[in-house]
């Protein structure tokens, strides 16, 4: 416990530094409630995927296909057929479609990794290509507009000023935290990621568990797809481009070990917030994309180094 707080200290410091930069460079526009919500709304979609990604990475895997899965789920959930059905019955049909597609893709990934014994990197690289291709075929590369008003108004609203999307992110993060830290599932995830042979000999069904991790992430992608559909009012095959890199970066900056065996949801949330805040500050300061990229590279390195140093001082070893 103590060492986990220690591990997150670096992130807290990092985020505070970034916020300080924001206040200094764009004070009045940065430190407003609206802007905070803008940052959070932006963070929420990457955030949900990153929470799922934390499980897969902590369990010793990796998933490059999340962006493509989000795209495919968003397209599938906004086809004319789905939307007609949703309009006729209830918008939940669209949500269900997105979640089912996400879970399905995750299942394929999981089965190939766990039972096909293929490297997750390769399996999900293949899925990245295939899911995006499929999304293009289904949508015929058109941007599909969401017409179901109930759907948009339900998810697009706010509760006490907090956008529903942000609330979803918070709920997913909380559920993720409980799942990872308080349940046997979470504990087994860390065991599988830490030493899968030892986990297997301790009676854990390693293959099934690995598969479940990918399904879990697939479902998270489905949720993210719904959120993206709300935010952009569209479903298209270009949704979620390079989302995988953002998500993995957030997870790893947060302190989850890429080699598996250690994961932190709080860290991931911080990682996501750091990136989202940074992007916001870049825009507020009118920075051009090239400079943004250079700064982003430098900041990733600085953040990880900072976090390591602080963790080493606080947490031992």
């Amino acid at each position: 416990m103590a060492s986990s707080a220690g591990r997150n200290m670096g992130l807290v410091v990092g985020l505070l530094i970034i916020i300080a930069i924001g206040v200094i460079t764009a004070g009045d526009r940065f430190a407003t409630f609206d802007n905070m919500m803008t940052i959070l709304r932006y963070a929420s979609i990457i955030g949900v995927v990153s929470i799922g990604m934390t499980f897969v990475i902590a369990g010793g895997g990796i998933d490059l296909s999340v962006g493509a899965i989000v795209a495919l789920a968003s397209v599938w959930a906004t086809t004319v057929a789905t939307q007609t059905m949703a309009a006729d019955s209830h918008w939940i049909v669209m949500v269900f479609a997105a979640l089912a597609v996400g879970a399905g893709c995750g299942l394929v990934n999981g089965v190939l990794v766990a039972y096909g014994r293929m490297a997750p990197f390769i399996v999900t690289l293949a899925m990245l290509a295939a899911a995006r291709g499929l999304a293009e075929i289904i949508s015929q590369r058109r941007t599909q507009i969401v017409d179901v008003r109930d759907f948009l108004s339900f998810f697009g609203g706010s509760v006490l000023g907090v956008p529903v999307l942000v609330i979803i992110f918070a709920l997913v993060a909380a559920a993720g935290w409980v799942l990872l830290n308080r349940t046997t599932f979470g504990r087994r995830t860390l065991a599988v990621g830490g030493n899968s042979e030892a986990a297997r000999l301790a009676g854990i069904k390693v293959q099934r568990h690995t598969m479940m991790l990918f399904v879990l992430l697939g479902v998270a992608c489905g949720i993210a797809a719904v959120m993206l559909m709300v935010r952009t009012t569209t479903g298209t095959s270009t949704h979620g481009l390079l989302l995988e890199l953002d998500a993995i970066a957030a997870v790893v900056i947060g302190g989850t070990l890429l080699s598996g065996g250690r994961g932190t949801i709080v860290g991931t949330v911080f990682g996501v917030l750091i990136f989202a805040t940074l992007t916001n500050i870049f825009t507020l300061n009118n920075l051009d994309t090239s400079t943004q990229n250079v700064a982003k590279g430098a900041i990733i390195v600085a953040a990880v180094l900072l976090q390591q140093r602080v963790a080493a001082r606080n947490g031992g070893t």
Binding site: A26, R29, T32, D34, N35, T38, R41, Y42, E136, Q140, R141, R142, T143, I145, G156, L228, R231, T232, T233, T234, T236, T238, H239, G240, L241, T279, N280, T283, L284, N285, N286, D288, T289, S290
Partner: protein, 334 residues
């Protein structure tokens, strides 16, 4: 220098203008040139159709080729990797196609291979992104990126004047920043604004995708609490841009788009968008037509010239509520 248009061959021009078949609808202006001639193989290669405009480029090219019984199309579709596109063009050369229509991922990067195709006797029609050498293409048909920026900027100046806006806040949402075409558009926009003494206050760059359009715009709206004019380079990402406006409940500004998708045209009709600057995706279809004419040794029927001209630059008109009906049919699905 266009040395190929020899004046004495004007006689042959007569047969080109002789008849009108007229069955292709108003836009395509069918004529004797449309009559089936010797069958020619045309290679077509474009960038990855990763968003609506490029998808429309591809599909209009394919559809155009379909209309002609005498055209056999080799479509090596889509890539953003210059090296891969070079491989595709090499394949066309190996196959000995009769003409190549090329919308390069990067004009300069494809110049060398296009020159080699020309050297091999295969006429190349360069579409949209220009080669760096005049010897690389027989004909160049360009959308005018710089002109697009100029049109948008000029229109913005006009709005400022008409509405008497003092010290206007002007925002620009660019497309993929690393592409030369984005640079050209921004340059044109800046130059035109400069002409009326204005400049861009806030500039963000998206990635031609809906999601990126929404993401950068929602941040942009925070950066500038009051905006007078927004020019968005691309109507594909415009869907996301528009969603961000709606999410934030902001509509105090004039919203100008780019490219001219059907969505944008509908918004203009509904009064949700001020205008869009046309950048027609039909240029690849024109490219196919020209390639066919080149391969069959024909000229353009509406010109007196015996041969296809070296260079065609499309106009970048501004579509507004006043003239949107005129342009509606050019709108593409984004």
């Amino acid at each position: 220098g266009c040395t190929s248009n020899e004046p004495e061959s004007t006689d042959d021009g007569d047969e080109n203008t002789a008849e009108e078949s007229g069955d292709d609808g108003a836009a395509s202006g069918g004529n004797a040139n449309d009559e089936t001639g010797e069958t020619v193989t045309i290679g077509f290669s474009g960038p990855e159709a990763d968003h609506g405009w490029l998808a429309a480029i591809n599909s209009s090219a394919l559809a155009e080729a379909d209309k002609y019984d005498d055209v056999e199309l080799r479509a090596a579709e889509g890539t953003n990797d210059a090296s891969l596109q070079i491989q595709q063009v090499e394949t066309f050369i190996n196959e000995g196609v009769d003409a190549i229509v090329l919308l390069p991922t990067d004009g300069a990067a494809l110049t060398d291979i296009a020159t080699r195709a020309m050297d091999a006797g295969i006429p190349v029609v360069n579409v949209d992104r220009e080669f760096s050498s005049p010897f690389a293409a027989r004909t160049t048909i360009l959308g005018d990126n710089y002109g697009m920026g100029v049109s948008a900027g000029t229109y913005a100046c006009q709005l400022i004047e008409e509405n008497n806006i003092d010290d206007p806040v002007i925002a620009e949402i660019a497309g993929i920043d690393a592409l030369p075409l984005t640079q050209d558009r921004s340059q044109g926009f800046a130059d035109a604004l400069d002409a009326c003494g204005e400049d861009v206050d806030n500039r963000v760059a998206a990635e031609f995708t809906v999601q990126s359009g929404e993401a950068v715009t929602s941040n942009l709206l925070q950066a500038a609490p009051e905006i007078d004019i927004i020019w968005n380079h691309d109507d594909d990402q415009g869907v996301g841009v528009k969603a961000a406006f709606d999410n934030a409940g902001r509509d105090e500004f004039f919203f100008i788009g780019g490219a001219g998708s059907s969505n944008a045209m509908e918004w203009i009709q509904q009064g949700e968008m001020e205008a869009t600057v046309l950048y027609p995706p039909t240029q690849a279809a024109d490219g196919i037509r020209l390639a066919r004419l080149l391969a069959q040794g024909k000229g353009m029927s509406d010109l007196v010239q015996v041969e296809v001209p070296r260079r065609i630059v499309l106009n970048a008109p501004v579509v507004t509520a006043d003239n949107v009906d005129e342009y509606m049919h050019l709108g593409f699905d984004s």
